[in-house]
């Protein structure tokens, strides 16, 4: 009867209600698709959703048995365990299992929800008297529209488990009292709200250290990165002058500091700066008349200077290489026009070269700043954040990230507090990144979806 009315009705879809019915039937996954006569699709939905929840049931609600005891899942995440002890609940294992359960549950629910939406949409097509896609059509659609999703899955799954899971864990740990002296199996970890964040400002030693470290982190980031950029651009410009001979050789030598793994060079520098035996104090500085040498490892100022210098050494080839590319792409006639107008070499650099370089490489330059903000290797390997400074729990050259390392993997870990600091640090750096990204040209060019 609905079909007959259709013929005259300008809004024919009002008359039938396949979409609602299909959607409601989808409470049992796949049934809505069966109702829509898409049998293969329905069967697939049924099998996928049901098997997904069957396979994962234990993980969601009983635990995967990663730790001792046999409960876990979402329950573990909420309670963090109830019975301490070697054979009891292990709060941290429970938390990680719980997060994994949550992520997988999220996937499962997403499929289940799609099941509804799909049934609803096809139902709507039927209500509108349109053809339900045939099996062949479905398969072709599948190939075309599904391609990007299918190809993204491996990378996404990997990123979810290696990058996002740790991130969620860090986030959650920051709201617990997990620390060395309060750790499983002997004790249970508990949710304590924002106390760790308050401690950054309320506990004297943490507050003093936090601000001292923050200031040096900013100084370090700006000094090291700006120097790297200046040296990199400067050398690239010099190297690209017309008529310069030996370009290849110079470039090959200069790029060496990038080619040798930084891990190795930092350890080499550490030995060269050794106060009693290193070449700086035994050979190089005495040759300049400074017989005493400097306290590279025990005076914070000299250690800081050494670190900045080393980062300049390590970092400039990257900028130099990139700038070279930009320089080669600047049209020659710009310079010719400038020469005709009587511009000097300096003016040409200031008015043409530099703006072109900075404009083209701005995003990369920003990532250089964020890289050094988080440049753990150099701080840790050179002097382990030392030397000591009075009345704080970090060394004189510790930046936030290396202080976090000491707090979370040092001799007396304060896991939760370290996680709180990490969140504060990440907040800083994310804001910077997102603001920069939103302003960038490529993002504005992107068509929104």
């Amino acid at each position: 009867m609905a079909a007959i009315n259709n013929m005259h009705d300008p809004k024919p879809e009002k008359q039938t209600n396949h979409r609602t019915r299909a959607a409601l039937l989808s409470i049992l996954p796949g049934l809505g698709q069966f109702y829509n006569k898409q049998f293969l699709k329905g069967a697939t939905f049924f099998v996928v959703v049901v098997s997904y929840f069957l396979v994962n049931y234990d993980l969601f609600f009983k635990g995967a048995g990663a730790g001792p005891g046999d409960r876990g899942g979402i329950w573990g995440l909420i309670t963090l365990g109830e019975v301490p002890g070697v054979r009891g609940d292990h709060s941290i294992f429970l938390m990680v299992e719980g997060i994994i359960a949550l992520i997988l549950l999220f996937f499962g629910i997403a499929i289940y929800v799609w099941n509804f939406i799909d049934a609803y949409r096809v139902g709507k097509l039927r209500d509108m008297q349109l053809d339900v896609p045939s099996l062949k059509m479905q398969l072709r659609n599948f190939k075309d529209n599904g391609f990007p999703y299918a190809m993204l899955v491996p990378a996404m799954v990997l990123a979810v488990f290696t990058v996002i899971l740790p991130l969620i864990f860090t986030f959650l740990i920051a709201f617990t009292n997990y620390k060395f002296n309060n750790s499983p199996p002997a004790k249970l970890v508990e949710w304590i709200g924002i106390q760790n964040f308050l401690n950054i400002f309320q506990v004297d030693i943490f507050r003093d250290t936090f601000f001292a470290v923050l200031v040096w982190t900013l100084v370090w980031t700006i000094a090291s990165t700006t120097g790297v950029i200046a040296i990199g651009i400067g050398l690239a410009v010099i190297l690209n002058q017309k008529g310069l001979r030996g370009k290849r050789i110079f470039r090959s030598i200069l790029i060496l500091s990038w080619a040798v793994p930084a891990f190795i060079t930092i350890l080499i520098f550490r030995s060269m700066f050794n106060e009693s035996f290193g070449v700086f104090n035994t050979t190089l500085l005495p040759a300049l008349g400074l017989d005493q040498g400097f306290e590279w490892m025990t005076d914070p100022t000299y250690t800081r200077l050494a670190l900045i210098g080393i980062q300049w050494w390590l970092g400039f080839p990257y900028i130099m290489t990139m700038t070279t590319g930009i320089l080669q792409s600047i049209p020659e006639d710009l310079y010719e026009a400038a020469t005709i107008d009587g511009a000097t070499a300096g003016e040409k650099f200031r008015l043409i070269t530099l703006p072109m370089i900075l404009f083209a490489t701005a995003p990369i330059l920003i990532t250089q700043y964020t890289f050094n903000f988080n440049n753990f290797n150099i701080i840790y390997l050179f002097n382990n954040g030392g030397p000591a400074v009075p009345a704080q729990s970090a060394g004189g050259t510790d930046i936030l990230i290396s202080w976090i390392y000491k707090l979370s993997l040092g001799s007396n870990p304060q896991y939760a507090f370290a996680a709180a600091i990490t969140l504060v640090l990440s907040f800083f750096i994310m804001t910077l990144a997102v603001v920069q990204f939103r302003r960038s040209k490529s993002f504005k060019d992107e068509d929104m979806i």
Binding site: V96, L152, F277, I326, T361, F376, I404, S426
Partner: protein
């Protein structure tokens, strides 16, 4: 004008020479040290009685497991490189060419993710690896390196693909080529410089990492170069700096060679991929 030019040139050579000396000095110094007899740091760059004994010691299983670490690291580096290049180029290509739900948010997420340090959460990684029975395996390390590389490098790849005209894809599609074939046979060959750069970065990562490796690997026979070399000089007592120097030289050499092989791709690979912003 001409005189000005000559001064300019002289100054340029001077700066470049000084820069070259600054770069070469530490590297030559470590080569010199590796030839020095004894165990300790010395200041003489050219040893008076050079010896190759440290290099032989490296390959003497009764003294160090260096050759084992070397093989492990090479294996991890090569597989990481292949896996990451496959994942990253494909992901970058999809982000460059296709429009789909969540695309823009994923891009922002990628940007943000690369900023967050991972080691606070090492315990989470531990439990996860344990659930998957991957603890103390090279596979775990490879997955961690590859996964960690995705956010940052996908950006680079997407930027590079953006510079390749879309008309190429469309023309191929007209000719009936499938999605994967277009990517594999038409676009990827044009992106060689970018692939070279990403491959190299990912190859180098395992040579530089000592933190994840020391946390994920337990068995001494599975150890990597960075961890082994670090242990040679990080012990407070009984350091063996000359042996470290020899080990450092040998592990840097292949990377430096690769670097020079790929060098011609760098300028275009980095510039196009990194700066289109």
């Amino acid at each position: 004008m001409r005189k000005q030019n000559r001064i300019n040139m002289a100054l340029s050579y001077l700066i470049l020479t000084i820069a070259s000396i600054v770069i070469l000095y530490p590297l030559l110094w470590v080569v010199g040290t590796s030839l020095n007899p004894g165990k300790s740091i010395t200041s003489d760059m050219i040893p008076s009685n050079p010896t190759l004994s440290h290099y032989f010691d490296l390959f003497d299983p009764s003294k160090t497991d260096y050759s084992l670490w070397y093989m492990n690291t090479l294996k991890i580096a090569i597989i990481t490189m292949v896996v990451s290049v496959a994942l990253i180029t494909l992901t970058g290509y999809i982000f460059s060419r296709y429009r789909f739900v969540g695309r823009k948010n994923s891009l922002i997420l990628f940007l943000v993710l690369q900023m967050v340090p991972q080691f606070v959460a090492i315990i989470a990684i531990y439990v996860l690896l344990n659930m998957l029975d991957l603890f103390d395996t090279h596979l775990a390390l490879i997955l961690l390196y590859a996964g960690g590389a995705i956010p940052m490098n996908t950006y680079l790849a997407k930027g590079y693909f953006d510079t390749i005209p879309k008309e190429l894809d469309e023309a191929a599609r007209m000719d009936g080529a499938g999605h994967l074939r277009i990517f594999w046979q038409i676009i990827l060959p044009l992106a060689k410089p970018m692939v070279a750069v990403i491959a190299l970065f990912n190859f180098m990562a395992p040579f530089n990492d000592f933190i994840l490796a020391s946390l994920v690997l337990r068995s001494p026979e599975k150890q990597t170069l960075a961890v082994g070399l670090y242990n040679m000089v990080s012990e407070q007592f009984d350091n063996n700096f000359t042996l470290f120097a020899a080990g450092a030289v040998l592990s840097a050499v292949p990377i430096v060679l690769l670097f020079f092989m790929f060098q011609r791709y760098f300028v275009s690979g980095l510039t196009a991929g990194g700066t289109k912003g």
